[in-house]
Amino acid sequence: MAELPGQIRRMSGGISQLIEQIYGFSRRCLFRVISMGPIPSHLAFIMDGNRRYAKKHSLEDGSGHQAGFSALMSMLQYCYELGIKYVTIYAFSIDNFRRKPEEVQSLMDLMLEKIKSLLEKESIVHQYGIRVYFIGNLALLNDQVRAAAEKVMKATAKNSRVVLLICIAYNSTDEIVQAVKKSCINTSDNIEASGNYKHEDRDSDIEGTDMENQEKRIQLVDIEENMRMSVAPDPDILVRSSGETRLSNFLLWQTGNTQLFSPAALWPEIGLKHLLWAVLNFQRNHSYLEKRKKQL
């Protein structure tokens, strides 16, 4: 008789495992159907609404971010299962440093904890063979977080199946400024190099024009190459949760042709149905765009 509660516990544990397996199986079947159409290669997420979620459910602030992290793990799992190769997330913006110091510290602590957990054996990184990049002005992070991030990047450098780009201490205008600076430096170096060459040649007639041509040679590709996000193609879809429709200085250069999707759900409430909606919309637009291209 004393065994009964134990037996019931084991049975309900077994049933919920079974339900999970059925759910996982149906999901994978659904994904197989959907992937008969075009699948986006890169999805980006602005994970907005964690604090509002905490308020809504009368939780402490930190719990909102924890719930947000769980939602993120599920979303990554769905994306990679569906066959999406690149996922980018806006984890922490340079603008967010202007929040109250206690909140910034608590976010840094949470991020440190989660970054470290990526290296654990059971983590999603190992499950899906994810290569992780941390994109941003990492010098702005405290030493611990930066070191942890660099460790993860190094440890996953050989993974090649799928990619996760975590934008931290990032904003797009900063990224563009850094790329512009690098392009200017490269150009000056090129000019100096050709200048030296010209001195040897003593061909002063061509020198002026050639210097002009060197500057003119800053092309789009120069800026693009120097962007921190150049390790991934431009996103096909950008999802911002919680109903706000603005980019908040995220991937401005890269989202010129990206489809924007703003479900009203707060980030911890985001789920499979939102991903499906985004992908189905992408497929619908994709066929419309292909048709228009053919018409032209």
């Binding site: 603008d95 150009t187 000019i191 789009l220 908040s248 250069w253 924007l260």
Partner: protein, 245 residues
């Protein structure tokens, strides 16, 4: 007070409104009309909306009239669009002068017909002294082109020793972008009609914190009522710029 005046007295009006005028061709198709009639209807709607917008206290209106990618459209359509721009620049000069609207055309002028280029210079010259109302028309413009030309300009300054590479920052970029002509270079509100939810390479840098509004109505049908709806939506936004409210 009329609806417009009430809005104008509300402090939370966008100072800079950007518009991607999408849907002219679909509008024409729906009515069994030709593409050129669609664009003509779009142009008329544009002028009406600009008048309303300025009346409600907006300082700058930007229009994505022709993108770099639009050169790929059929030759007839491109010719028709260029002719439309010429026609309206000419016809609306009196309106610009009467209402003291400063006209600024941004984009790569190299490929547009010479007659249009000359006319643009005329209009810009005639309206350059006006202040308080700016109408920015983007022709052969793309956000990436804008950032690239800013980069080239900064590279030249570095080469000439006017600035150091370390001086290149966000402010330095904003001084070089083509929107430097306005006191409010970054749009508060961007409206793209016809339901497409993408920026299509319009303002990229400048849209960092812009509220994006995507009504499904086609551009020639986007009138005063629709604009008031957009404003109401805008005024309900909580703009945090990354901080807590």
């Amino acid at each position: 007070m009329g609806e417009k005046e009430k809005r104008a007295s509300n402090r939370k009006m966008p100072k800079h409104v950007a518009v991607i005028l999408d849907g002219n061709r679909r509008w024409a198709e729906k009515r069994g009309l030709g593409t050129s009639e669609g664009h003509e209807a779009g142009a008329r709607r544009l002028l009406e909306n600009a008048k309303d917008c300025f009346a409600m206290g907006t300082n700058t209106i930007s229009l994505f009239a022709f993108s770099t990618e639009n050169w790929e459209r059929p030759e007839d359509e491109v010719k028709c669009l260029m002719a439309l721009f010429e026609k309206h620049f000419r016809a609306e000069m009196p309106f610009f002068q009467r209402d003291k609207i400063k006209i600024l055309v941004i984009g790569n002028r190299a490929k547009i017909p010479e007659s249009l280029r000359g006319l643009i210079e005329e209009v810009e010259e005639a309206t350059k002294s006006y202040e308080g109302k700016n109408l920015i028309i983007a022709i052969d413009y793309s956000g990436r082109f804008d950032i690239l030309q800013a980069c080239k300009s900064l590279a030249t300054k570095v080469k000439d020793g006017l600035i150091q590479v370390e001086d290149i920052n966000e402010e330095a970029m904003e001084k070089e972008l083509l929107t430097k002509c306005s006191e409010f270079p970054n749009p508060d509100l961007l409206i793209r009609t016809s339901g497409e939810q993408r920026i299509s390479n319009f303002f990229l840098w400048q849209s960092a914190y812009t509220e994006l509004y995507f009504p499904t109505v086609l551009w020639p049908d986007f009138g005063e009522a629709e604009y008031l709806e957009a404003l109401t939506w805008y005024q309900q936004r909580q703009r945090r710029f990354g901080r807590r409210v």
